[in-house]
């Protein structure tokens, strides 16, 4: 479980995250939603330590991540898998080397063991016979799946996904969403997904937090979101023709 307590972040005079507290449950797909520029990416970067908090705490199973030194953080980070918006696969490595990278870096396994693990996680994300391909030879959806495979290669306890559906067609987005949810349940990990894709919210939103202008504005689940009277959330969720029809 991950818990954020009274997080604040400033960029110069701009107070981009204001006193945000939220609990992300283990074994659930926890979604953070909000408009572009609302502060959700900053929130995620604070949770994983890519940005330093100005005040507040980030607790990983009760341990305050913000007060840890590099070595202690390293131990936690080896239990974190992250799927980036642009996949962030290493351009100079092929699919196999990308997925094997954390195994090479942090384990003493034999090459056979590592290859077995790589093939297992690639199969888990429904990719086979792609080992020698370079990232530039993959489609957007395949890149995301390879990135998921790399993220789960080390059996992480925490999985972070930043806009996993960006740049994907609705059908491929659905496949990625289902994959994230299945992995979360299968390995009982704490998954946090940053998204503004309403299909994702309504299909995998076990625990949804809505960030509005840097504040945690609303929290609930995918069923409650359809019945809420929160104006800002309704404006955001049902702002398109399609979703407004759904609401009606």
């Amino acid at each position: 479980m991950i818990e954020a307590k009274n997080l604040n972040k400033y960029f110069g005079d701009n107070h981009v995250l204001i006193d945000v507290s939220h609990r992300f449950e283990k074994g659930k797909t926890n979604l953070v939603i909000g408009q572009s520029g609302s502060g959700k990416t900053v929130f995620m970067k604070l949770l994983v330590g890519l940005l330093e908090v100005d005040s507040g705490e980030v607790l990983y199973d009760g341990k305050d991540f913000t007060k840890m030194n590099f070595e202690h953080r390293k131990a936690i980070r080896q239990e974190i898998g992250m799927l980036f918006q642009g996949s962030a696969l290493f351009d100079s490595l092929n699919v196999e080397q990308n997925v094997m990278f954390p195994l090479n870096m942090f384990t003493q396994r034999t090459l056979e063991d590592k290859l077995e693990r790589v093939n297992f996680v690639l199969k888990r994300v429904n990719l086979e016979n792609v080992n020698p391909l370079m990232p530039s030879e993959l489609s957007g959806g395949m890149r995301k799946r390879v990135a998921i495979a790399r993220a789960i290669a080390m059996n992480p306890q925490y999985l972070f996904c930043d806009e996993p559906n960006s740049g994907l067609d609705p059908q491929t987005s659905g496949v990625i969403d289902i994959l994230i949810q299945e992995i979360t349940l299968e390995y009982q990990i704490t998954t946090i997904v940053n998204t503004h894709d309403m299909n994702s919210v309504l299909s995998i939103g076990d625990n949804v937090a809505f960030i509005y202008k840097g504040r945690l504005w609303w929290k609930g689940n995918k069923n409650e979101i359809l019945q809420t009277n929160n104006k800002e959330l309704n404006d955001f969720v049902f702002g398109t023709e399609l979703t407004s029809r759904l609401k009606k």
Binding site: I80, F84, F90, F160
Partner: protein, 246 residues
């Protein structure tokens, strides 16, 4: 103030760069890859420039010897001294600042803007050490080799130009290049090259690592890397010459 802020950030980054590699096997693999990318792949341009540089020095020297009291062996002597003391270590390092420096900055800068560096950090990898340290070590190891090759090629170019234009005979040229040779000049050139290699790899690594934004900023970082590396090479050239030759 901006300058001091930049120097501070550079020093802070170097503290992270100069750490023990997390996995020796991976470091060794990266080191050989970088020696290939930064050194061996630059061999062609180094040989080409050095040959022509030596040739021009020899021809210009020969044309400027008006007095019959000055022996033609001075052409070989001047070509050797110019190539060893200045042209190979400094000019080739400036060329490498352009070729290798921009490559380092754009490679690391692209990794920064495409979140590949963030991915390394999330995994618990010291990204500064992982990305920059092998390039620094590779540059320090391979650049002196390139400079020695450049010296040979420069002197060879001078001989070829002298002989084929008929300005100086092989005998005079060889006499000149053997005249009053001091091995210390090679040490001086290698010492300068090592300092310049450090400047090129760390300054370019710094600008690449600190890139923020997108493709435009990667290009700007690459340009800055070349400009600042070149300026520092020129400044340190003066300082080292003063320290080592006086």
């Amino acid at each position: 103030m901006h300058l001091f802020y930049g120097i501070g950030k550079y020093v802070m980054l170097m503290k992270r760069v100069f750490a023990r590699p997390q996995k020796r096997v991976i470091f060794r693999h990266q080191l050989f890859t970088e020696i290939q990318n930064l050194g061996i792949d630059s061999l062609g341009i180094v040989v080409f420039i050095s040959l022509f540089m030596g040739a021009v020095v020899a021809i210009q020297t020969a044309y400027n010897i008006d007095s019959p009291l000055i022996p033609l062996s001075m052409v070989g002597f001047t070509a050797r001294q110019s190539v060893i003391l200045e042209f190979s270590p400094t000019v080739i390092s400036l060329i490498l600042a352009g070729k290798v420096g921009s490559s380092i900055a754009s490679q690391i800068g692209t990794m920064r803007v495409t979140e590949q560096i963030d991915a390394l950090e999330i995994m618990g990898v010291n990204s500064a050490n992982h990305l920059i340290f092998p390039k620094v070590v590779a540059s320090i190891l391979i650049n002196p080799v390139l400079i020695v090759v450049s010296m040979w090629m420069g002197i060879l170019g001078g001989w070829l130009a002298g002989v084929f234009t008929g300005l100086v005979s092989t005998h005079d040229y060889v006499t000149g290049i053997r005249l009053d040779f001091q091995a210390y000049t090679i040490f001086y050139a290698i010492a300068k090259t090592i300092v310049f290699a450090f400047i090129i790899s760390t300054v370019s690594g710094f600008f690449g690592y600190e890139t923020e934004g997108g493709a435009l900023e990667v290009g700007q970082a690459s340009t800055k890397a070349v400009v600042y590396s070149s300026i520092l090479i020129i400044l340190f050239n003066l300082v080292l010459t003063q320290l080592l030759l006086t």
